[in-house]
Symmetry: C2
C-alpha cells in the first residue's frame, strides 16, 4: 500500500493492444491497494511524425517563437496517449483521469524544446488519488510562467515521471521500457553482458551520459537530487505476472551506499562512437589559450567533451578535445578560419574515426590502480590510447573506433563482469 509512479515509453504505448496491456498492468497494481500515478510517452513514432511536419514548414530563422510552436505541436502526442490510457483503464473498470502538464500544473521555465521543471503542484493529483482514482500525467511537457506549453526535450517523459514521483514523495518510480534493466555493457557488443540488480545513482549517471541509453540523464540527475528510488524494468513481461516478482525485477537505482556496494570495482563499460577529435598543434604556451580556443567553440554552440592539454615543449603545446561528430567539420572550419591565425598556432588537425570507452564503478573510489589495470588490458590487446580522461568513478579513453568492440569485450572480461549475476551482486 504505497504511492507508486509508473512510466511507460513510446514502444510500450505503441498500439491500442499495448495500451490495453499497460492498463491491465496498472489495474493490477491499483487493485493490490497501491495509489497509482502513470506517466506515458507518446505512441512510438508520433513525436517524430509531428516534428517531421514542422520541419517541412519551418522558417529560415529558428527563433523562440518557432520553439514555442514546436512545443505546442509536440505536446499533443503525450496528451493523446494519456487520454487513451485513461480510456483503457476505464474499460478495466478503474476510475481514471488524465492531465496535461498545464493542468497539474507542471511549471517549467520558458526554454522551449528543452525546458526545465521548476515546480509541480500535487494538490489536484493527490485529491484524485484520495478519491480512489488512477491519475495519468502527460510526460515530456509543462507550462511556462506565461501559460505557454513547453516540452522537456527528448526522453523528457523519464524526467516528468521522476519529477512527479519526487513531488508526490512516491515510494518508488518504475520506468517500464523495452529493455529489462541496466546491463554491464551493451549485450549486442558483449553477449556475456549481464543485468545489474542494483546500480548506484552516480554510476547510472556516468552510464547514461556515456551512451547507455536506458534512461535520460536528466531524469537520473533529478532522481539523485530528490532521492527518488528508481527502477528500470521491462514492459514486455506478461501483464498478469505476480506483482511481487514484477516489483523486484529489472535494475534498482539506489542512493544508499549499502555494504553490497563494495561488491565490484567496476560496474559497467560504457562506450560512444558519436565523437570526433580535434587538435590544435604548436600553440604558443601562454595564459589564456584554452579560453581562446574553447571560447570560440562554445560561442558556435558546439559542446566539448574530453579536453587535453599536452606538456609544453620549446614554448609550444598541443591542445586536443572531442566534439560531437555532427559538429566536427564546423569546428575544424571555425578553428582554421579565425582561431589559428589569432593564436599563431601551427596547424589544426582532426579525426572523426574515434570512439570513447569508459569503465564506471563506485568501487573505483576506494580501489587504487583501477585505471592502470584498464590501460594494461588495452595495451595487451595492442590498442593505442589517444586521450585519457578521469573522474572519481569513471575512466575514459579515446581510441581508434575500429577497436571499439575489441576494447569493450576485453575490459568486460578484465573486470570480471562476464560472471553470472548471482556471484557478483545479491
Amino acid at each position: 500500500m504505497a504511492l507508486i509512479v509508473h512510466k511507460y515509453g513510446g514502444t510500450s504505448m505503441g498500439s491500442t493492444e499495448r495500451i490495453r496491456n499497460v492498463a491491465r498492468r496498472v489495474a493490477k497494481w491499483h487493485k493490490a491497494g497501491h495509489q497509482m500515478v502513470v506517466v506515458p510517452s507518446a505512441m512510438s513514432g508520433e513525436t517524430n511524425r509531428l516534428l517531421a511536419l514542422a520541419k517541412e514548414l519551418q522558417p529560415a530563422q529558428l527563433g523562440k517563437a518557432y520553439g514555442r510552436e514546436l512545443d505546442m505541436l509536440a505536446a499533443t502526442g503525450e496528451q493523446a496517449s494519456s487520454a487513451l490510457l485513461a480510456i483503457a483503464l476505464q474499460a478495466e473498470g478503474i476510475d481514471a483521469v488524465s492531465y496535461a502538464g498545464w493542468q497539474v500544473p507542471i511549471k517549467t521555465n520558458d526554454a522551449y524544446t528543452k525546458a526545465r521543471i521548476e515546480s509541480i503542484d500535487d494538490v489536484r493529483v493527490r485529491a484524485d488519488l484520495a478519491a480512489g482514482k488512477v491519475v495519468i500525467v502527460t510526460g515530456f511537457q509543462g507550462v511556462d510562467p506565461d501559460g505557454n506549453i513547453t516540452t522537456l526535450g527528448r526522453g523528457g517523459s523519464d524526467t516528468s515521471a521522476v519529477a512527479v514521483a519526487a513531488a508526490m514523495k512516491a515510494a518508488e518510480c518504475l520506468i517500464y521500457t523495452d529493455v529489462d534493466g541496466v546491463y554491464t555493457t551493451d549485450p549486442r557488443v558483449v553477449p556475456e553482458a549481464r543485468r545489474l540488480e542494483r546500480v548506484s545513482f552516480e554510476e547510472m549517471l556516468e552510464m547514461a551520459s556515456m551512451g547507455s541509453k536506458v534512461l535520460q540523464i536528466r531524469s537520473v540527475e533529478f532522481a539523485g537530487k530528490y532521492k527518488v528510488p528508481l527502477r528500470v524494468l521491462s514492459s514486455f513481461t506478461p501483464w498478469d505476472i505476480d506483482l511481487n516478482e514484477e516489483a523486484s525485477s529489472g535494475t534498482l537505482i539506489t542512493f544508499e551506499e549499502d555494504e553490497d556496494m563494495e561488491r565490484a570495482v567496476v560496474s559497467g563499460i560504457a562506450f560512444n562512437r558519436d565523437e570526433a577529435k580535434v587538435s590544435v598543434l604548436g600553440v604558443p604556451d601562454k595564459p589564456g589559450i584554452a579560453y581562446q580556443i574553447l571560447g570560440a567553440v562554445a560561442e558556435a554552440n558546439v559542446e566539448v567533451d574530453v579536453i587535453i592539454q599536452n606538456l609544453s615543449k620549446d614554448g609550444k603545446t598541443d591542445f586536443s578535445f572531442t566534439v560531437h561528430r555532427n559538429d566536427f567539420q564546423k569546428t575544424l572550419d571555425l578553428l582554421k578560419g579565425k582561431v589559428l591565425p589569432a593564436l599563431g598556432a601551427a596547424d589544426v588537425v582532426g579525426d572523426n574515426r574515434i570512439c570513447k570507452v569508459s569503465i564506471v564503478g563506485i568501487g573505483m573510489r576506494s580501489h587504487v590502480g583501477v585505471a592502470s589495470r584498464m590501460f594494461k588490458c588495452l595495451s595487451d590487446e595492442g590498442i593505442n590510447i589517444q586521450m585519457i580522461s578521469t573522474s572519481e568513478i569513471k575512466t575514459s579513453v579515446v581510441i581508434d573506433e575500429k577497436y571499439m568492440e575489441l576494447a569493450v569485450r576485453a575490459l568486460h572480461r578484465e573486470f570480471d563482469l562476464d560472471q553470472t549475476a548471482d556471484t557478483i551482486s545479491k
Copy 2:
C-alpha cells in the same frame, strides 16, 4: 484595415503543402493591413483517426469520465494543426502565435463532446494583434470551469470561429471551405444549381438544419445572435488572387434585410434522406396523447422532427412523426412494447424509405400561395405528399425517397432558381 477572422476546414489544412497555402493567403491579408485571427480545423482525417483509437479501447459504460478523455484526445488534432499553421506563417516572415482553447481562454460548460461556449476572453489575443502578430486560435475546443478540456462537437470549428469573431467584434468572419459558397440546392442533384451571392441569416439557418452541410448550424445561430457578418468561400482559389476579388467571392450571410432581399420568393431547396416516419394508428382522441407518445420517445433520447396529428374521426386519430433513420427501429420497438398498450391504440407502423424536401426563402413571408405552388408542382410530377410542415420561411414535405431527385429538380425549376445568378441576385 479591419479585424478579420478566417476559418479553414480540415481539407484546407490537409497537408503541409495546403497549410503553406493557407499561410500565404493569411499573410496576404495581414500585409494588406488587416488584423488577422485564424481558426483552423484539424488536418483532415485526424479527428477520425483519434476517435477510432478511442473506440478500440472504450469501456462498456460510456459515462462522463469517458467523455472527458475523448475531448482530451480529440482536442489534440486542432492544437497540432494550429501550431503547424503558426510555423508556416513564421516561414512567410509573419510573427504568429497559436493558442489552444484553454489559453485564450474559450470558456465552455462541461458537456463533454458537445460543450457550449460561455465566454471568450479577448485580452491576450487583442494584445498580440496590437503587437502586429497573426493569432491562431484552435477551433473545436474550450475549457470548462474546472480546467478540463472540452470540445464543441463535430463541425465545432465553425462555431469557434464565429464566437471568436463575435468576441473580437470582427468586421467579418470568412469560412474557407472546399465549396465556393452556398447553392440554391446540391449541384450533384441539380446541375443547374447556382451559388447565392447573399443569403439571409434565417434562410441559412433553415438550409443548414435541412442538410446543406456547408456550415454547422450552431455557428449560424451564433452568428445570428451576435450579428457577425459571415462569408463562406473556397480555400481552393490560388492564394495570390486579388484580395478584393477574394473578399467579395463566395456567399455572404447577412443580417440586414436590405431591399435586395425582395429579389426571390424562394432562395433554395434543401433535402434530407436521413429520416424515417413512424405512425401510431387508431389512437383514442383525448387530451395528453401527444405527450404520452412523444414523452416516451424523448426519454429514449430520440429527436423528433416533423409531427402531424390527423383530424379525429369516430373518436380516433392517427399520430405521425419523423425521427433520424438510425433511431427508427428503436422507436418502433419502444412504441410497440410500452406505449401502444398503454394508449389503447390500434397499431404502430413505420417507413424508413422516405425523404424530406423543403423550399426555403425569406420572401415567403410576404408572398402568399408559395406553399400551394410547391404542392401543385409536386402533384404535376405525380409525387404523393405524405406529410407537410411549415414555418414562416420554409415549407417541408415528406415524400417517398425514390422521388427525391425528381422533386428537388422540379422545385428548383418551378421557383426560377435555374436562371443565371445575375438576373436573380445582385
